[in-house]
């Protein structure tokens, strides 16, 4: 069976307990997201901080907190049984999905590693868990490390002795130990130097060429432009535009995507006016309409995402 992840009208809501500053409110963090990811492609999910990107990733990995309510489905097919990631128990996710079918490349890898153990100890542990029958876990760890661009000597270091680039490679190696076909990378380029970003982008391209899929979650349009085959633009928890990278960035159809592109320093360097809406109090119609200079009465009704190659959810696209 073909490896595939299909999100169908996925929504995540958080019920806020009454004692906080927004009593009894519901946060609509992810709304009605439909998306299909297949091996051999990199899909970038871009949007402002707080637009629901990370919540979506956490939903796929089963990392949502207890007050989250989900609806819709996220169906993972391929090697192993077909699963709806939203309803699968944590035990099943921990023993058959995380690290094996879906790998996570975390933000700030140095902080993600255990500070009191060497990179080798952590990598060998992952090898022992994922490949319990392997009689030479150390050699296996060296092979995985070499594939991520690390020498055996590098593995003797503790996390605080690793440079940013090396910590990133250790995180990549850890994510690849269980040979997952899908990698979710959450803001992997934040805070990295130019040449480290270049190295990481090359690494992602290699993973995609190896037949893996990468779901890249980022606010960095420049990085998305260089890695992604497709870009999905998220605003207030919804995907409002999705299409081939070049089309979305060069001829954006949604006014929000156009605003994001125009904000880049090498374009107009002008901000989008206004602020994103509160996720506790989303407008009934198009959630971008209050900030949109093209808004018309028709925008009081919620636009649906079109069903073509370069899809947009806007009544009056650019």
């Amino acid at each position: 069976m073909v490896n595939e992840l299909v999100l169908d009208h996925l929504s995540v809501r958080f019920a806020l307990p009454g004692k906080f500053s927004l009593p009894g409110a519901t946060v609509a963090a992810v709304n009605d997201v439909s998306l299909r990811i297949r091996p051999g492609e990199c899909v970038a999910l871009v949007g402002e901080s707080g637009c629901g990107k990370t919540v979506l990733a956490n939903a796929l990995l089963g990392f949502l907190p207890g007050n989250a309510q989900t609806s819709g489905t996220a169906t993972l097919t391929g090697d192993g049984p077909s699963l709806d990631l939203l309803t699968t128990s944590d035990t099943v996710l921990a023993t058959t999905v995380r690290g094996r079918r879906i790998g996570l490349i975390p933000q700030s890898p140095a902080a993600h590693l255990t500070p009191v153990r060497t990179a080798r100890a952590q990598l060998e542990e992952a090898v022992r868990v994922h490949h319990p029958t392997d009689t030479a876990p150390r050699d296996h760890a060296h092979r995985v490390a070499a594939r991520a661009g690390l020498s055996p000597d590098d593995l003797d270091r503790y996390p605080h002795e690793l440079s940013g680039g090396m910590a990133q490679r250790v995180a990549n190696a850890l994510a690849l130990v269980g040979d997952p076909w899908l990698l979710i990378a959450d803001e992997p380029t934040t805070g990295l130097d130019r040449h480290l970003v270049d190295g990481l982008i090359e690494e992602f391209r290699r993973m995609v060429a190896d037949g893996r899929a990468v779901l890249l979650i980022t606010h960095d349009l420049a990085a998305a432009q260089r890695i992604a085959d497709r870009i999905a633009v998220m605003y207030a928890g919804r995907i409002i535009e999705i299409g081939p990278t070049r089309k979305v960035l060069e001829v954006p159809r949604h006014h929000y995507s156009r605003g994001l592109v125009d904000a880049l320093p090498d374009r107009a360097f002008t901000p989008i006016p206004g602020q994103p809406p509160l996720l506790t109090d989303l407008p009934a119609g198009c959630s971008f309409a209050p900030r949109c200079d093209q808004a018309a009465p028709v925008c009081a009704e919620r636009p649906t995402l079109t069903d073509d190659d370069h899809a947009v959810a806007c009544h009056l696209p650019c």
Binding site: G50, T190, D193, R194, H219, A263, L264, D266, F269
Partner: protein, 220 residues
């Protein structure tokens, strides 16, 4: 009189035998934006801390409007310390998590015994809406929190602003918005800005001139 914030032959770091910066000089002129680029480990943040009077250099002097600085950190004279505003990369690590945004923005005013009545004006400057001011840091996004940090940095009307990787955590629109706020402030007050970033595309479009620190000019 604003004549510039000048680093003169600064040698600084955390171990005198292995300084991060050696004999480094630069001047941030008033009304101008000085861009400083370079890879991590090249000493950009150390220089930012020295120029913000937060780190004492091993050798060299900092001149503020022609007057040599005599003390750093808590020994920096208040009149000099408050002339320089600072913005850091991680707004979450720069704001007391127990404070509302309103309290955080008013902090420099209170600490200097001035009335805190400018908070609404400052919040409007960085486009923070009143309902956000009653929230605490964990209830707002990185972009909203960095806006509050900028309002706080401008509260005492500094003559110089040191921005150390201020935009790293921000999306393109928030980056453009904050850079525009800083530019407007410079036009009104003639303030000088030191903009530090590893994003050379950003610095090329933001700064009046850009200098790249590499490991050859810094340290040994």
């Amino acid at each position: 009189m604003l004549t510039g914030l000048r680093a003169d032959a600064i040698t600084a770091g955390y171990d005198p035998r292995h300084p991060v910066l050696t004999d480094f000089s630069l001047t941030v002129h008033s009304g101008q934006t000085f861009g400083l680029a370079g890879p991590s480990g090249s000493g950009k943040s150390t220089l930012a801390r020295v120029l913000a009077l937060l780190h004492k250099p091993f050798a060299g002097t900092v001149h503020l409007d022609g007057v040599p600085v005599t003390g750093f950190r808590q020994r920096a004279p208040r009149a000099q310390r408050t002339r320089i505003g600072v913005l850091f990369q991680q707004p979450r690590l720069s704001v007391d998590p127990r404070m509302t945004l309103r309290t955080a923005i008013a902090e420099p005013l209170r600490a200097n015994g001035r009335p805190a009545d400018r908070v609404d004006e400052l919040a409007e400057l960085v486009m923070l809406t009143p309902e956000l001011l009653v929230r605490r840091p964990h209830e707002v996004s990185d972009g909203q929190l960095q806006r509050a940090c900028l309002a706080r940095a401008l509260a005492l009307r500094p003559g110089y602003l040191v921005c150390d990787e201020m935009t790293t955590m921000l999306d393109a629109s928030t980056t453009a918005a904050l850079v525009n706020v800083i530019r407007d402030y410079q036009r009104q007050t003639g303030a000088g800005v030191l903009a530090i970033s590893h994003d050379t595309v950003l610095l090329d479009h933001w700064a009046d001139h850009v200098v790249t620190l590499d490991n050859a000019t810094a340290g040994n």
